[in-house]
């Protein structure tokens, strides 16, 4: 099976600081890859390098064997990368429906088709009854779902979820976990940065642990959690 997403030797440098150092990863369709690590480990930078928001110094990124290393973020979105933002970013002046419409227009250039897709996507994330509300008025949990809807409405083949679970109360968290699991069952490749271990352990087929910009461990979630280096990176050594 071809990789949905593959990164080889990605290095990102900000001035003199190496934010991401020689990271490689591969992700198959329908697979969920969890990306964890302490704050400042370079997870979000890696995320941004994969989605085109940060230019890597070296390394390459490919999507279904197509080299996308040189593509701008909007071109990657067209190629099939959908992403959410860690600090959720609704278009505040637009309604919930219009927010999703913006994304739905990517593959549905006509208003009628785009609106149908946007409404379907809103139903899917459970925001169907909020369509006409100004997006700026949504609470946190609903903003997260809106972020997801915006990413999904671009009909991605790989979806990048940047801490979509953070700050959710237990029922909302359960719903989000079930939802992400459903996405992968439908064949979407999922890459998620997450601090909520419950979600990582339950969802990930595969986990990558980062610390100080480098990949320090990789494998099945339970095995990785017991890894000496991982425990050390999270708790420090005495």
């Amino acid at each position: 099976m071809p990789s949905a997403l593959r990164a080889e030797g990605l290095t990102v440098r900000f001035g003199g600081n190496v934010a991401v150092s020689d990271v490689s990863l591969a992700l198959a369709p329908g697979e969920i890859l969890g990306l964890i690590g302490p704050n400042g480990a370079g997870k979000t930078t890696l995320f941004n390098a994969l989605t085109g928001y940060v230019t890597p110094e070296s390394g390459r990124v490919s999507l279904f064997d197509r080299d996308i290393t040189r593509l701008a973020p909007h071109e990657r979105a067209r190629a099939g990368c959908g992403r959410t933002f860690q600090t959720e970013r609704p278009f505040e002046e637009l309604t919930v429906l219009e927010n999703v419409l913006v994304a739905a227009f990517l593959h549905e250039p006509r208003r009628s088709g785009a609106e149908r897709l946007a409404r379907e996507t809103l139903e899917q994330v459970g925001l169907g009854d909020r369509a006409d509300q100004p997006a700026g008025d949504l609470n946190l949990a609903r903003r997260r779902r809106l972020e997801l809807a915006k990413a999904l409405a671009t009909r991605p083949r790989v979806i990048f979820l940047d801490e979509v679970m953070a700050g959710l109360n237990p029922p909302a968290l359960r719903e989000m976990i079930a939802f992400v699991s459903e996405l992968s069952r439908k064949g979407l490749a999922v890459l998620m940065v997450e601090h909520i271990m419950e979600a990582i352990v339950e969802l990930s087929d595969h986990v990558i642990v980062m610390a100080s910009g480098a990949k320090i461990a990789e494998g099945a979630p339970e095995a990785v959690m017991r890894d000496e280096r991982v425990i050390e990176a999270y708790l420090g050594t005495d």
Binding site: P73, F91, V102, L106, P134, K150, A151
Partner: protein, 317 residues
């Protein structure tokens, strides 16, 4: 959509009735209609795409000069030279946008002031083409279908047509892909890119459309004044007035710029005739009051409230 088409129909009806009701006040109506068109065109870039320009007088001047020079020097009919002026306006907008859309925040705005100023200096110094600081007179105009283009009545219909055309374009784009791309770019460029939107390309298209439409009104303005000088046509004050009209009326709304033109230009005229010396003071106070109590502009506040109310009502039922 239906509301906006009804609005447009009402606007046209008002425009058709006006010359019958006030046949002696056509000049002020022409000015208002030109500002309706300009402010609405400005708003495609300034309101919908969020890129505030203080250089739109450049496009007004371009359109006016193309028409004037076309007629006086080359015997070119004004509609052809207006089209040419629109094309050149779009090309200049493209070039200027290409250079400056990398700039964020107020820097783009500052650069547009320079843009208009450059054109003003060209118009002053290249006297062989533009008549220099003395300006150009339009003495004769062709008479298509026997229409006298110097006649206020004719000019009024043209101005009405211009205003309706620009509003019609905005109504059409507001619901479609391009209209939403514009708003997305205004709200958050990074998030817009995540939806597959190219921010620079989107802003360039908005700038070109905005510039070309403004130039079309500029061509008409040249005919209305029939005398062009660089200090009027490319003047910063005109740029500011166009921007202010749209902002007061409500940026990024379909009817805001039109409402702004009617309130500002209309009241400006009333104040000038009734308050004499104090008119600018009262004008200033009016602007201040609107900015303080309706920061989104007159129509902007009204629509936001309407959306909230509609949602609240639906949520209750």
């Amino acid at each position: 959509m239906r509301t906006h088409l009804l609005g447009l129909a009402a606007f046209v009806a008002l425009g058709l009735a006006y010359p019958v009701l006030f046949p002696s006040a056509l000049t002020i109506a022409i000015t208002i209609l030109l500002f309706v068109g300009w402010a609405t065109a400005w708003d495609v870039l300034g309101g919908w795409a969020g890129q505030v320009s203080l250089g739109h007088a450049a496009f007004v001047g371009l359109g006016a000069y193309f028409v004037a020079i076309g007629v006086t020097e080359y015997g070119l009919a004004p509609w052809w030279s207006a089209l040419l002026g629109m094309a050149v306006a779009a090309a200049l907008a493209f070039a200027w946008g290409w250079l400056t859309f990398g700039l964020r925040g107020p820097y783009f705005t500052l650069s547009t002031i320079a843009f208009a100023e450059i054109l003003r200096l060209v118009a002053i110094n290249e006297g062989w083409l533009t008549g220099g600081a003395t300006g150009v007179f339009i003495m004769t105009l062709p008479e298509p279908f026997g229409l006298d283009l110097f006649d206020r009545q004719t000019q009024y219909w043209l101005a009405l047509g211009f205003a309706v055309l620009v509003i019609g374009i905005v109504v059409a784009l507001s619901r479609g892909r391009f209209g939403y791309a514009l708003r997305a770019v205004r709200e958050d460029e990074d998030a817009a890119m995540a939806a597959g939107i190219d921010p620079k390309r989107t802003k360039l298209k908005a700038f070109m459309l905005s510039g070309a439409l403004t130039a079309l009104g500029g061509g008409l303005y040249g005919i209305v004044l029939s005398f062009l000088e660089p200090h009027v046509m490319f003047y910063l004050l005109l740029s500011v007035q166009i921007a202010l009209t749209a902002i007061i009326g409500g940026r990024g709304t379909i009817w805001g710029p039109a409402a702004g033109a009617m309130v500002l230009i209309g009241s400006g005229e009333v104040f000038r005739t009734t308050f004499a010396e104090a008119n600018l003071l009262i004008y200033g106070v009016l602007i201040l009051v609107i900015v303080l109590f309706a920061p989104r502009g007159l129509v902007g506040e009204a629509t936001r409230r309407a959306i909230r109310r509609r949602y609240a009502k639906r949520a209750q039922s």
